[in-house]
């Protein structure tokens, strides 16, 4: 037997591990709720809150409000970050002017400038999307810029020798060589968008998971608070899975396969 020296857990398949991990999390949760029931609402109550909010349709409204903000903010940031990153990589004057801005704003927590945007755009959807846009744009532009800068010059030389003109080089070398960075940027951008969502929903509005959590915490409805947190976690994991899938689909050729 080849497996003789392997520990027993090496034989457990991955999906079983997922179940075990899930069961342990529930156990920890049950333990926490037995100690501090007022803070950690037990799973049954959270489940009940989930069912009643699904039945009333309010949960989906919250999820949709948040999801649409995240996706619009992220989407706008994504399609803006790509050309800006390319322009920065190609034209030094643009880089010299824009890069310090990016570095400066990047380190400011979005919560700090959300009020400025609210004063400008009001407390509606625009300001919320704008906060997400800024945060997601900054993280993506930096990542894509590094990708464009890092395109192997030997590949460009090789393409030129084989007869490639400027547009050929752009579409047949630069774009594919940058794709892994664009997908990494998308992943970082989505998780930043989700993080920033909470800052964006801090003020005003009546729909959104952030709003739901805030309102519920005001009434000390910890089951709803936990429900909101878990929903955000699920959305985050779904984003991650989608981008991972795209990465496997489009950048499986990479030498260093990411795990």
């Amino acid at each position: 037997m080849q497996d003789k020296n392997k520990p027993i857990w090496a034989k457990i398949p991955n999906w079983v591990w997922v179940l075990i991990s899930f069961a342990c999390a529930i156990a920890l949760w049950l333990f926490a709720s037995s100690q501090l029931p007022a803070v950690f609402a037990p799973p049954t109550e959270v489940w009940a809150a989930f069912v009643s909010k699904i039945e009333s349709g309010i949960l989906l409204e919250h999820v949709w409000a948040s999801l649409s903000r995240v996706l619009i903010g992220f989407g706008l940031a994504f399609i803006t970050a790509i050309p800006v990153a390319f322009l920065m990589a190609w034209y030094d004057p643009i880089r010299h002017i824009v890069e310090p801005w990016i570095q400066f704003v990047r380190n400011i927590p979005p919560l700090a400038y959300v009020f400025l945007l609210i004063a400008w755009l009001g407390i509606g959807n625009e300001s919320k999307i704008a906060v997400i846009f800024i945060a997601a744009f900054l993280v993506q532009v930096v990542t894509i810029y590094q990708g464009v800068k890092g395109v192997d010059t030997t590949l460009i030389k090789a393409a030129r020798v084989l007869g490639a003109k400027q547009t050929d080089i752009f579409f047949k070398v630069t774009i594919p060589a940058t794709t892994p960075f664009i997908l990494v940027a998308a992943r970082l951008g989505l998780s930043t968008s989700l993080t920033t969502l909470m800052a964006s929903e801090i003020v005003g509005g009546d729909r959104g998971l952030g709003m739901m959590i805030q309102q519920a915490s005001g009434y000390y409805q910890m089951d709803t608070v936990l429900l909101g947190i878990i929903m955000l976690g699920i959305i985050g994991i779904c984003f991650e899975k989608i981008v991972r899938f795209l990465e496997r689909r489009f950048t499986g050729w990479q030498e260093t396969v990411q795990q």
């Binding site: 030129r160 020798v161 007869g163 050729w253 990479q254």
Partner: protein
């Protein structure tokens, strides 16, 4: 003399290349004159930093000389062209394309149909014995196989001149010997004009009709040695007295240049 008698393919006419560096102007090439004849296999040796690669890039059209010019078939070189294929030391395969798509890259740019490009690509993959890897990605290949693909890709567009910049430099000794053998055999069949840079004197002798020895920086042509060993050549050639004689002669000249840099 080898190479004489056939037309001059590449005429390197007093090429000077200067670079601006932080420490001021640096002369990489200081008046290089060289004729490469049709169907000739020229090898180039010289100490590190003597401008071998710069010369290759200028012939390839990837760099422009500060002074002088390069003529191919009497016409000045003006930018890169599929007429002058280059094989790089770092393989330079497109990692997102399969092996066959890599070989087809230049053919597609020439406007060939998918079918025609694929046919030609398969022919050259067969030449380098990698047909069964056509649909693999470069990451799945060893260094030697990658360089074979790069050679097939360079051959596929049917260039007039093949420029090779230490193509076997990154390979282990065994793979290098094998690829040398394959390259000799291919050259004997196709007789394509080759300009081959190496730091390995044995490689320069086993492959070339003539060996150009370059001086230490600023690079010039120090000497050109005729390799008067008849083809077909193989690894046993490396044991022949004439080979060893040539090796001594070339190596001592390269070594002198190496010492002059170290001083």
């Amino acid at each position: 003399m080898a190479g004489n008698g056939s037309a001059v393919k590449v005429h390197v006419d007093h090429v000077v290349k200067k670079f601006q560096t932080r420490k001021g102007e640096m002369t990489a090439l200081n008046g290089v004159d060289l004729d490469i004849h049709e169907n000739e296999f020229i090898t180039v040796v010289g100490p590190s930093g003597c401008g071998k690669s710069t010369l290759l890039n200028i012939i390839g059209g990837l760099e422009t000389p500060t002074d002088g010019q390069v003529l191919v078939d009497g016409k000045p070189v003006n930018g890169p062209s599929p007429e002058r294929g280059i094989v790089f030391q770092q393989y330079a395969l497109f990692p997102w394309l399969t092996v066959i798509k890599n070989v087809m890259f230049g053919l597609k740019l020439q406007g060939k149909s998918n079918q025609e490009a694929e046919e030609i690509a398969r022919k050259y993959l067969k030449m380098v014995d990698l047909e069964e890897f056509a649909n693999h990605y470069p990451k799945e290949l060893s260094g030697g196989m990658k360089q074979r693909v790069a050679i097939a890709r360079a051959y596929a567009t049917n260039p007039q001149v093949l420029l090779m910049d230490e193509p076997f430099g990154a390979l282990d000794a065994q793979t290098r010997t094998q690829l040398q053998q394959e390259l000799i055999e291919t050259w004997e069949k196709e007789r394509k004009t080759c300009f081959f840079i190496t730091h390995d004197v044995e490689e320069a002798i086993i492959l070339g009709n003539r060996c150009v020895i370059m001086s230490a920086r600023p690079g010039r042509v120090k000497d050109i040695i005729d390799i008067d060993i008849p083809y077909p050549r193989d690894q046993a050639t490396k044991m022949s007295p004439r080979f060893l004689e040539l090796k001594n002669e070339i190596w001592s000249q390269v070594y002198q240049e190496y010492l002059s840099v170290r001083k």
